[in-house]
C-alpha cells in the first residue's frame, strides 16, 4: 500500500518538490514570455502573481495533500473527499489524476527529445546536420505529413517512459527522491556553467555579432506601460501557473507522505523560491543572451514572437554551440541534459499520483501500478507522437497543460477557503511550520487568490484578438461585439482560426480539424473514464467490511 511509502530526508523532499516545479518552461518559456511582454514590465506582475497566487497555491496544495495523507489518501479524489461532507468533492479530484496522466503522456515525449538531443550533441550530429532539418526529420513532420511514426523518436519515447516507470517502481525514497537528489544539483551546475560561458562571450569571438548583454538588456529593460496592460498580467500569471506546476495534483501527492505534525509551509516556500531562482536567475540569463550574441537582437525578437523559446532552444542553440570548438558537444549535452533533468523530475511527480491512486483505492502492488501508469501514458503519448503533424500534441498541451490546471486550481482554492473552511485550512498550513507564515495570507488565500485565478480564467476564455483589450471594450460598447482571439478558450472551441472548418476536405481526406475534435473527444473520454474509476473505487470502499 502507498501508506508504507515515506520520504527519506527533508532536503530530498524539498528537492523533489522543487524538481516537480522546475521544468522545461523555466528555461524555454520564461525568457521568451518575459521578452515578449515588455521585459521589465513583465517581471513586476510576475513577482506579484508569485506572491498572491503562486505561494498561496503551494501552501494550499501542500495542506490538502498532508491532510489527505492522514487518512491514507495520496491522490486527489480521496484528499478532496476528506475536505467536506459533500459526495461530489471526490469528483473534483478527478482533475488531479486527469491532468497528471495526460500531461505526463506528452511531456515524456518532449523529455525523450531532450534525451535524444543529448546523444546527438555528444556524437556531433549537429556539426554536419542543420538542426531544423534534423528536427523535422526526427518528428516526421513534412509539409504533406498528417501521420508520423518516426522510428528514432518512437524509440527514445519508449526508453524515456520505461525509465520513468522503472524509477517510479523503485518507490518514493529510492526512486523519486534519489533522482531529485542527483538531478537537481546537476541541473543547476550545468546551467551555471552555460550562463558563465554565455555571458563571457565578447564581440570579436568567432561567430559573435553582438554582446550577450544586449539580450539581457532586452529582457530586463523596465517598461512601465506593460503594467496597465491586461495581456501582460495574463501572461505573467499564466507563467506562474506553469512554472510552479500548481493545479495538477502532483504537489498534493508529495505532501501526502509528510507526517501529520511535520512542516509543510517552509518546505513549500523553499521549493517555490528555488524554482524562482532557477527560472529568473538561470533561465533568464541563458537562452536569450547566448542567442543574441550569435544571431543579433532582431533575430531573437522574431524567434520568440509567439512567446515560446522552443524554437531557439531546439532549433537554433545546437548550431550556435558549434562556435565553442571542442567544448561544443559538451555544451550541447549540458543544455539538453539540464532540460532532461528538469523534465524527468516533473514527469515523475506526474506519475506518482496515478500510482498512489491505484495502490490506495484498488490495492494494486507498486510495480504493477507503475506498469499501469506506463501503459496508459504510452497509449496517450502514442496519439501525440502519431498525430503530431496533424496537431494532436498541441491539443493535449492546451486542454490539459493549460486549461485544466486553471480550472482545478480555481476549484481547489475555493473548496479550501470556503468548504474546508479557513479556520481548519489555516491550522493545516501552520501546524508544525518551521517558519512564521504571515497572517495576511489567511485573507489572501480566502479572497485574493480565488479572485486572481478567476480573472486569469475569465481572461483566457475571452481574450480579445491581438490582446487589444481597450479596443475590444470600445468595440463592445459601440455595439460591434467582442472581437474574440482564435487563441482564446472560446475561440478554440469554435475553431475561429479555421476559416474553412470541416472534418474532411473536398477530396475526402481527413483534416486537422478532425484531429483537433477527435483529440478533444479522447481527452473527455479519459476524464469520464477516470471519473468512473473513482466511482468504482468508492463503491468498492463501501462494500469493504
Amino acid at each position: 500500500m502507498a501508506g508504507r511509502e515515506r520520504w527519506g530526508t527533508r532536503i530530498g523532499l524539498v528537492l523533489a518538490m522543487a524538481g516537480n516545479a522546475v521544468g522545461l518552461g523555466n528555461f524555454l518559456r520564461f525568457p521568451a514570455q518575459a521578452a515578449q511582454n515588455g521585459g521589465g514590465a513583465f517581471l513586476i506582475p510576475y513577482l506579484i502573481s508569485f506572491l498572491l497566487m503562486g505561494i498561496p497555491l503551494l501552501w494550499v496544495e501542500s495542506a490538502i495533500g498532508r491532510h489527505g495523507g492522514q487518512y491514507n489518501h495520496h491522490s486527489a479524489p480521496g484528499m478532496f473527499d476528506r475536505m467536506g461532507r459533500y459526495r461530489w468533492l471526490k469528483y473534483v479530484g478527478v482533475f488531479g489524476l486527469f491532468t497528471n496522466l495526460t500531461i505526463a503522456s506528452y511531456y515524456t515525449y518532449i523529455e525523450s527529445w531532450t534525451l535524444a538531443y543529448v546523444w546527438h550533441s555528444l556524437v556531433g550530429t549537429f556539426k554536419t546536420v542543420d538542426p531544423r532539418a534534423f528536427f523535422a526529420s526526427y518528428l516526421g513532420t513534412t509539409d504533406a505529413a498528417f501521420y508520423a511514426l518516426p522510428p528514432a523518436a518512437f524509440l527514445f519515447f519508449v526508453v524515456t517512459l520505461a525509465l520513468n516507470v522503472y524509477i517510479l517502481s523503485r518507490g518514493l525514497m529510492k526512486g523519486v527522491e534519489l533522482t531529485a537528489r542527483i538531478g537537481m544539483p546537476l541541473l543547476i551546475l550545468f546551467a551555471v556553467i552555460l550562463v558563465v560561458r554565455g555571458l563571457g562571450l565578447r564581440e570579436g569571438d568567432p561567430g559573435v555579432v553582438q554582446s550577450p548583454l544586449a539580450g539581457l538588456n532586452f529582457v530586463w529593460s523596465p517598461d512601465l506601460s506593460g503594467l496597465v496592460n491586461p495581456t501582460t498580467w495574463l501572461a505573467a500569471a499564466g507563467q506562474i501557473f506553469f512554472t510552479l506546476s500548481v493545479g495538477m495534483g502532483s504537489l498534493h501527492c508529495y505532501a501526502s507522505y509528510i507526517g501529520h505534525k511535520r512542516d509543510i509551509a517552509l518546505n513549500a516556500a523553499t521549493a517555490g523560491w528555488m524554482n524562482e531562482f532557477v527560472e529568473v536567475v538561470l533561465g533568464g540569463t541563458l537562452l536569450i543572451p547566448i542567442a543574441t550574441a550569435y544571431l543579433g537582437l532582431a533575430a531573437v525578437q522574431a524567434a520568440t514572437a509567439g512567446g515560446s523559446g522552443f524554437g531557439l532552444g531546439f532549433l537554433t542553440l545546437p548550431t550556435l554551440f558549434n562556435n565553442w570548438g571542442a567544448f561544443a558537444p559538451l555544451a550541447g549535452a549540458m543544455w539538453f541534459g539540464l532540460l532532461f533533468f528538469a523534465g524527468i523530475t516533473s514527469s515523475l511527480a506526474m506519475g506518482q499520483p496515478i500510482l498512489a491512486f491505484l495502490e490506495d483505492e484498488f490495492g494494486v502492488e507498486r510495480r504493477r501500478a507503475a506498469l499501469g501508469f506506463g501503459a496508459a501514458a504510452f497509449l496517450l503519448g502514442f496519439v501525440c507522437l502519431w498525430l503530431y503533424p496533424a496537431g494532436a500534441f498541441d491539443e493535449f498541451d492546451f486542454w490539459t497543460g493549460t486549461f485544466s490546471l486553471v480550472v482545478f486550481a480555481l476549484l481547489e482554492v475555493i473548496i479550501f477557503g470556503w468548504v474546508f473552511g479557513m479556520e481548519r485550512g489555516w491550522d493545516e498550513i501552520t501546524r508544525g511550520a518551521d517558519m512564521k507564515v504571515p497572517r495576511l495570507f489567511r485573507f489572501v488565500i480566502r479572497y485574493v487568490t480565488p479572485l486572481f485565478i478567476l480573472l486569469v480564467f475569465t481572461g483566457s476564455m475571452v481574450q480579445p484578438a491581438g490582446g487589444a483589450w481597450g479596443a475590444a471594450f470600445r468595440s463592445l460598447f459601440s455595439g460591434d461585439g467582442w472581437p474574440l482571439s482564435p487563441e482564446s478558450v472560446i475561440g478554440r472551441v469554435l475553431h475561429l482560426g479555421d476559416a474553412s472548418y470541416a472534418w474532411f476536405d473536398a477530396a475526402g481526406h481527413p483534416t486537422h480539424a478532425l484531429v483537433q475534435d477527435g483529440t478533444r473527444l479522447l481527452l473527455m473520454l479519459v476524464f469520464i473514464g477516470i471519473g468512473f474509476l473513482v466511482h468504482l473505487a468508492w463503491r468498492r470502499r463501501r462494500a469493504l467490511p
Binding site: 520520504w7 521585459g39 530586463w220 529568473v280
Partner: protein, 37 residues
C-alpha cells in the same frame, strides 16, 4: 545594458536569491525528517 535594466536585474536577483538561500538554510538547519514522530 542601461542603468534601468541593471537596476531591475539586481533588485529582482537580490530578492529571489535572498529568499531562496534563506529558506534553504532554514531547511538545512532544522533537519527534522518529514516523517519523524
Amino acid at each position: 545594458m542601461t542603468a534601468g535594466a541593471w537596476g531591475l536585474l539586481v533588485c529582482t536577483w537580490t530578492v529571489v536569491i535572498f529568499f531562496a538561500v534563506r529558506f534553504l538554510l532554514m531547511v538545512i538547519r532544522t533537519p527534522t525528517g518529514p516523517n519523524d514522530e
